[in-house]
């Protein structure tokens, strides 16, 4: 909870600073700088030079979105491999993901430690076996976390059309389909993420794998197994303790 309070403090602090005079930490929304940051100028150039390519990708993402977003609920097992400089060895997490549209996501880790988090549009509830405590964070009071989780939820949803605005998109392979998203300069994720590669299932109805490469060269891969679309999902799956 202390960390939460600190994050809130940080955000309020920055707001406080911006109500007062002087140059902002981040450039003002003015002139060419603002347009560039807002992606307007870049967008115009992209539209001018690579019009057909962009419209192809846009059409592809829209088609994929229509295919994938047909499901209302999802349950899948996952294996998450983390190759992080902070750890000696690759960390492998095994667990389950439950997704109920429009706004519920449960992430249960079974190995190596039991950990569980349920994310809704308003809050996250999490639990781990070490502390055996349920912690609830109101997302409205934790914009940093909310932003991060929002991004994560988008990747699971399969609806990637809106991501075109903030990312450069490239098709790496057509069958099975592999798409790479590289954050644009204007995208705040650029600070951390180098690129994200999505591998689709053969039937393109859901994802097979997500690979996230960080600027620090850390790599996280999530492989989806036994995915069931529109399968009945128990409400207990969205309980942090009951889900484990």
């Amino acid at each position: 909870m202390k960390i939460k309070a600190k994050k809130v403090t940080l955000i309020l602090l920055l707001f406080f600073l911006f109500l007062y005079p002087g140059t902002p930490l981040f450039q003002p929304l003015q002139g060419e700088g603002f347009l560039a940051r807002a992606g307007i100028k870049e967008g115009i150039e992209v539209r001018g030079e690579k019009k057909s390519e962009v419209s192809d990708i846009s059409g592809l993402l829209r088609r994929l979105g229509e295919k994938i977003s047909a499901f209302k609920s999802l349950k899948t097992d996952f294996i998450q491999e983390k190759e992080l400089a902070i750890f000696k060895n690759k960390i492998i997490l095994k667990g389950r993901i439950y997704l109920q549209k429009p706004d519920r996501l449960a992430w249960h880790v079974d190995k190596p430690v039991k950990y569980s988090v349920v994310i809704t549009d308003k809050s996250i509830r999490q639990w781990d076996e070490d502390t055996n405590q349920v912690q609830e964070i109101v997302l409205a009071k934790n914009p940093v976390l909310k932003n991060m989780l929002n991004q994560l939820t988008v990747w699971f949803s399969g609806n990637y059309s809106p991501l075109l605005e903030d990312n450069n998109v490239q098709v790496l392979q057509k069958s099975p389909l592999i798409i790479e998203f590289t954050p644009k300069e204007t995208n705040i994720a650029k600070k951390v993420i180098k690129n994200i590669t999505i591998t689709f299932r053969e039937d393109e109805k859901y994802l097979k794998q997500i690979r996230i490469r960080e600027n620090s060269m850390d790599v996280t891969t999530i492989i989806f197994l036994n995915t069931e679309l529109n399968a009945p999902v128990n409400s207990s799956s969205f309980e942090v303790k009951g889900g484990v």
Partner: protein
Amino acid sequence: MFDKRFGLIHDFLRNKKKPVLWIVVLLTAAAGIGLPFYQFEGNIDLMLPNDRDIHRSINFLRDSKLSDKVIISLVLTSPDKTRKDLFNAADQLAASLPPSLFSKVITGISALNVMDALSVINYAPQMLGEKDLSFIDSRINAAGISEKLQGIYRQSLKPESIFMTSMSRTDPLGIRLLLLDKLRALPASMGYDVSIEDGHFVSRDGRHALLIIQTPVAMTDSPGCKKIVTALQEQTGRLPEYISADVIGGHLHTFSNEKVIKRDILVASTLVSVAFLLLFIAVFRDMRVILVFIAPLAAVILSIGLSYIILGKISYLVIGFGTAIAGISTDYGLHVYIAARKGAGASQRVSLAKLLFVDAATTIFGFSALYFSHIQGYHQLASFSILCTIFSLALALFILPLLLSIKKDKVLNPPEEKKLESLYLHKRLIVGSWALLTLAALFFSFNIKFDSEVTRLDGSEPEVLRAEKNFHDTWGGKSSQAIFVVTDKNHEAALETNDRIFQEATQAIGAENFSSIAAFWSSEKTRKKNIENWNRFWKGERETKLKRLIREESFKYQFSEQAFSPFFDNLYNGTTGNNNSDEFLSRLKERFVQEKQDGYQILSFFPDKKEHVDAMAALSAHYPGTFLVSGKAMSRAISDFTAKEFKFLVPVALAFNIGITFWFFKNLKETTIALVPLITGMTWLMGLMSLLNLPLNVVSILAAIVTSGVIVDYGIGMTYECQYDLKIGTVIAVSLSAVTTIIGAGVLLFAKHPALFSTAAAMVICLLAGYLSSITVVPALCSIFLKPRIQEQAA
């Protein structure tokens, strides 16, 4: 002497009638043509005391960059639209604002950038003091390190770890939290309730977005404010139909106040003109009476022109008073006109001139009392009003008779005169009733309240105030802040004083209440000391000890050997003290440090509560070059100051009136009776204001002082008439004078601007009480206590 000189001037002007009239017409026309070109000031500051502390506070607020912000709160009004639509609208609006008027537009910040900016390595060595190092030391042991590493490991299992793990590598001990603690008081003291999403400021309900706009236009720059408001209205008007905007900022108050005052003056002038014309034409049934109305109007126009030449910019408030003064100035012309209609002879004309000179003298001396005030606006008002009175008197006595050639007739119908005469039969009843009512008013007057809150004289339109209410309801930030200012020619010296103030202030009012740059960025001297302490702290055994402990505990969680190398490799990077130019730091410093022509000002903020202000004022007394800016303290100072002024100016004005009245009558009894309207007006004013729960304020007191010079004239006129039986129509002249003046002031009761309304309320009460007592009580008292001089002379 008077009789001879008056006669000479009168004859000279009559002989040179045409050239004299042409000169008057040309001068008035020239002054009238100049009206659109004169510069006026809508600033209420002119009406504030010229006290050193108040002046300094006002100047500080005006010159500081604290007030150069305009804020727009955008509201998503359609439930079908999303936050994305809201953010798009915010970005488009930001891009559409012209840079010449809006130098910076900020719609939000990137949360990740913030985390990145607050680099532990860069800031910790300079920001952390001995206490903080002791705390870190207490964590460098097996248990503490194990707990920290476990936390980092657990964090890495969570979905958000992608963004957080690299941060942990540079801060295994959680030193960032200590830095954040130091910054905690800043948002806490503001009380704003804001979230950030997609790099935008957003309200908790997710339906509002915020734009913070900096402008080079000063709040006191009326034409500039008009341009800003017009540009904002134009651009917010182009927002999609599902977005509405609340705009707040001092510039809107300046623009709105000026608009309201201008509209009030226009409405008042129109109403008063129509009322005067209808009244005069209905009573006198003679179109030439328009001249009586035109004379003071010409006097006001001439006075504005001459005041502008002498004084420069004139306040709109002073011109607002001009409407009331026009009513007062009509009196002289009215007396002359009625005397002419009554067929006054040469001796009566001289007597009337004497009476009008005395009336003008009381008015002029009443205004002259304002020169003793320490409020600059009062001086301007005195000069303007005295000029207006002199011009009106001159036009009435010397120019108006040149235009009037009237045969003797009755101005009032005989039955009406008889009604007035029958009233005087009940003289003891009248005096008794008056005494009772006045005693009652005196009783209530002891409960009169004084409202020193100058912001209540702000006449901004309801939509400006509604936008502010909407803003505070959505975003919070209602609590006002006081500012502690440290000044010094030298930046470093100012920061060193500020460091000492910070230490004492946190003791006096608590660290959570005192938001100071010293909390996170102290003087170079202190920061150098912190760096020395940091180096000594780590270069001893601690760095080795920490590495050993991390190594020993790491195996449990499989941390690599290089897991925290970003922390150890850069442990001394921040000890060079050369991050003064960091954007993050610059941003923080600009909030607290102001560079002025004569040096630097270091600002600290604390809640504007009496107990805190008193404690900080006591602290300021020990530090020369420091001062406080507190809205509430300023309000108290204005209250104290105005009470002092009131105690001084009112007796001065009364003394002038009493002195002139006595000089005129040279008789104690007659003087006392002549002063009855004045006493009645003042007593009833305070009694009725108290009874109606209307507090006195700076402008109503001013209005009372001005009116005292008018109602004393009624008393003098009526006593003079009763004693000498002049038959120059004093009763009707006084009645019409009072009616015109009450109309002049009364129309301001419809004013939307609170300053003008206060003026009107005070003047109308004072005038009504003064007038009623002059036509009823004064003749009754004359009849009871005095023997008419005409009888004495006959005897």
